[in-house]
């Protein structure tokens, strides 16, 4: 288990981390969310001692992280980069060996990942000769090549096309299934909601919300009501006076209501508008939960 405990870091007057704490179990796939500048990257870098926190601890399986433990981690930084002129297979072997693997095992692992990613025929190409998407795949392989116990990925989905996103999701789910602790940051919250059960939301260097997505949604004091009227495609904005309208267009309206609000008057108002095609009363989705806690 990775335990991040009360991390604090200040750059001059800027507070990057203000007592950030959370945990990740082995086999858990954790979405690490937060607006830009909230301290996600600084937290991730702290795990690899790329940043030295002013205070707080990072522990793995109960022990402070030292150099040999760190070699069992995999990292895909937000700023992607490998050696552009180095051959793809040679490059992967190099990273495997930097993580302490022996030469033969490293060569085998490089071959395995190139086959897995469908790039076996590019083994002898220089990295710079590959397409952007394929370079991203190699970057992922470089983080996975040594079969890490903990995998940390900073914005792994940015810059990927839909097929690339799907591949990446598949690999992350698979790694977690094999017992790796996986932490990734992303701004694509729909995707996070599809991909993982647990999230940590950080804002201004502090964790503001953490837990299973389903619970976080249910725990919200708001509910969302979505109504679609088949026979009225106009603007329904004024049909529900006294309620907070989130959006309204083409016979659809989305309202935010308190979770204690009685539903009957709303059902009646909807029925009065025409033939109801959809009437849904749901907890907020992840984006809405995110906005609720971050906007404060």
């Amino acid at each position: 288990m990775l335990e991040i405990n009360e991390l604090r870091k200040q750059y001059g007057d800027v507070v990057a981390l203000d007592g950030c704490s959370f945990q990740v179990r082995r086999g858990q796939l954790l979405g690490f969310l937060g607006p830009n500048g909230s301290g996600k990257t600084t937290t991730m870098r702290s795990v690899f001692s790329l940043v030295r926190p002013d205070s707080g601890t990072v522990r793995w399986q109960g022990a402070p992280i030292d150099a040999p433990i760190r070699l069992r981690f995999g990292y895909m930084p937000e700023q992607r980069g490998l050696y552009p002129r180095m051959k793809v297979a040679t490059q992967l072997v190099y990273f495997a060996r930097l993580h302490g693997m022996e030469k033969t095992a490293a060569t085998r692992a490089a071959q395995h990942w190139l086959e897995r990613l469908g790039l076996a025929d590019r083994a002898a190409s220089r990295l710079e000769q590959l397409s952007h998407g394929n370079q991203q795949r190699i970057q992922l392989a470089a983080a996975l090549i040594h079969d890490p116990e903990l995998l940390i990925l900073d914005e792994p989905f940015s810059g990927l096309d839909p097929i690339g996103v799907e591949d990446m999701m598949g690999i992350l789910v698979e790694r977690a299934g094999q017992g790796t602790a996986v932490v990734f940051s992303s701004h694509q919250l729909d995707l996070v909601e599809d991909l993982c059960e647990d999230v940590v939301i950080i804002s201004a260097g502090k964790v503001v919300l953490a837990g299973p997505i389903r619970e976080l949604r249910a725990r919200s004091s708001h509910r969302y009501l979505e109504v679609e009227i088949a026979t009225n495609t106009g603007n329904l904005g004024r049909a529900f006076p006294g309620y907070e309208v989130i959006s309204s267009h083409d016979g659809r309206i989305r309202l935010r209501v308190d979770d204690q609000t009685p539903l009957e008057p709303l059902v009646r108002s909807a029925a009065a508008l025409g033939r109801v095609r959809q009437f849904s009363y749901t907890p907020p989705n992840l984006s809405e939960v995110f906005r609720e806690v971050v906007d404060q």
């Binding site: 750059y11 790329l50 040999p68 930084p77 980069g81 050696y83 180095m86 930097l98 470089a142």
Partner: protein
């Protein structure tokens, strides 16, 4: 994984990536060709082989003529003779340039404008020697040593102190190594400078630094590129050594064992020191364009070291003495002092200690500056700020 293994992995990568690159192979090939041409071309056009003198003989050739003339020339020439039937035939040959001089056994030596004074003197002396030997023999004097007979037993003896010539040769050798060191640093220092910035420009640095410490990365780079540089110097040196005998006049500077040992030791130390210093300069910047600016103070230091060495080639002086203790100047000045033979043991020990300490210190310093600069995304760090940052 041990720190040494990390360093060796980085070194091996930097070495292999460069040695297999087209650019490196091309530049090595061109340099070797250039050096070879520099040796071979003068050897072809300015032949330093002993002259061949072709001398015409009219009548009977005096016994032992060629040997006597070669001895008289100080063995600067190989003598061959061509017989002629008449004086007219010899004069024609002389005129045509077939021979440079002719000896008529009737008692005349024929010369023309093509006859050098050296040749004329050697031939006349040679004939005189033969003549003296003949007369002595006729008088019943037993000749054991012809030279002794001619010079009357005198021989030349140098009264210059025996060590002085050795010291001089030693200094020239030491300075020769200094010049090679200077050129090596200028060339490979910039390779290291560019190599250190490479990880930053390709942004691979964060992945790499997730697995090892910055000073290990820098040490590996310095080692990999440094070994490559020394291998290239050796390759060029070997080619030069093979070709140099073509130039007959060239003599490889030679020196006593201790001078040889210290010259090469300080070459390696100097190379290490400046390589690490260039790595430190590279750690200050994040873009290739800024590299030369960051390295400017080092270039100045290097020039100063070179000038101190070249002004001190004739002998010891106080500036040389102080410079030989300071790490940035010692590699170029200490070998000169060793050749002069006046280095106290404590001076050598102090100089070596300061050197080793400063190489290690620079490496740690560079490592800290490197990681700080990379992750905060700053452009160029000033030496002074970097030093302050490295202590905090």
């Amino acid at each position: 994984m041990s720190p040494l293994r990390s360093i060796l992995l980085v070194a091996a990568r930097d070495f292999k990536e460069r040695v297999t690159s087209r650019a490196f192979q091309l530049s090595t090939g061109i340099t070797i060709l250039f050096v070879a041409a520099w040796i071979v071309v003068p050897a072809i056009f300015f032949d330093n082989k002993p002259d061949t003198w072709t001398i015409g003989i009219i009548g009977e050739e005096p016994a032992g003529f060629t040997a006597a003339v070669e001895t008289a020339s100080g063995h600067a020439a190989i003598v061959t003779t061509t017989p002629y039937d008449s004086r007219d035939a010899a004069e024609t040959a002389l005129d045509d340039g077939d021979i440079a001089m002719a000896v008529d056994s009737s008692g005349t030596v024929l010369v023309d404008n093509g006859t050098s004074d050296q040749m004329q003197a050697a031939v006349v002396t040679g004939l005189a020697t033969i003549s003296i030997a003949q007369r002595a023999d006729e008088l019943g004097i037993e000749v054991t040593d012809l030279a002794d007979l001619v010079t009357g037993g005198y021989h030349v003896e140098s009264v210059a102190p025996a060590g002085e010539a050795d010291t001089e040769r030693g200094r020239i050798f030491a300075f020769f190594v200094t010049v090679v060191l200077f050129m090596s640093i200028v060339t490979y220092g910039s390779w290291i400078l560019i190599g250190v910035i490479e990880e930053k420009t390709s942004r691979v640095v964060e992945v790499v630094l997730g697995t090892l410490r910055p000073h290990q990365l820098l040490a590996g780079k310095v080692l990999g590129i440094g070994v490559l540089g020394i291998a290239q110097v050796l390759a060029i040196g070997v080619v030069a050594m093979i070709l140099l005998p073509l130039q007959h006049a060239f003599q490889i500077p030679s020196a006593a064992g201790s001078v040889l040992f210290w010259a090469f030791t300080w070459y390696l130390l100097g190379f290490a020191f400046y390589s690490v210093a260039y790595a430190a300069a590279g750690s200050l910047v994040s873009r290739q364009e800024e590299a030369q600016n960051a390295a400017f103070p080092l270039t100045m230091m290097l020039m100063a070291a070179y000038f101190i060495a070249s002004f001190s080639i004739t002998g010891d002086n106080p500036v040389l003495r102080i410079a030989s203790l300071l790490p940035m100047f010692a590699p170029m000045t200490m070998p000169l002092r060793v050749a002069g033979g006046d280095v106290a043991v404590w001076e050598m020990a102090l100089s070596l200690s300061l050197m080793v300490i400063s190489v290690y210190g620079l490496m740690r310093f560079a490592g800290r500056v490197y990681s700080g600069g990379v992750l905060q995304g700053v452009g160029r760090v000033k030496w002074k700020e970097a030093f302050r940052a490295s202590r905090s």
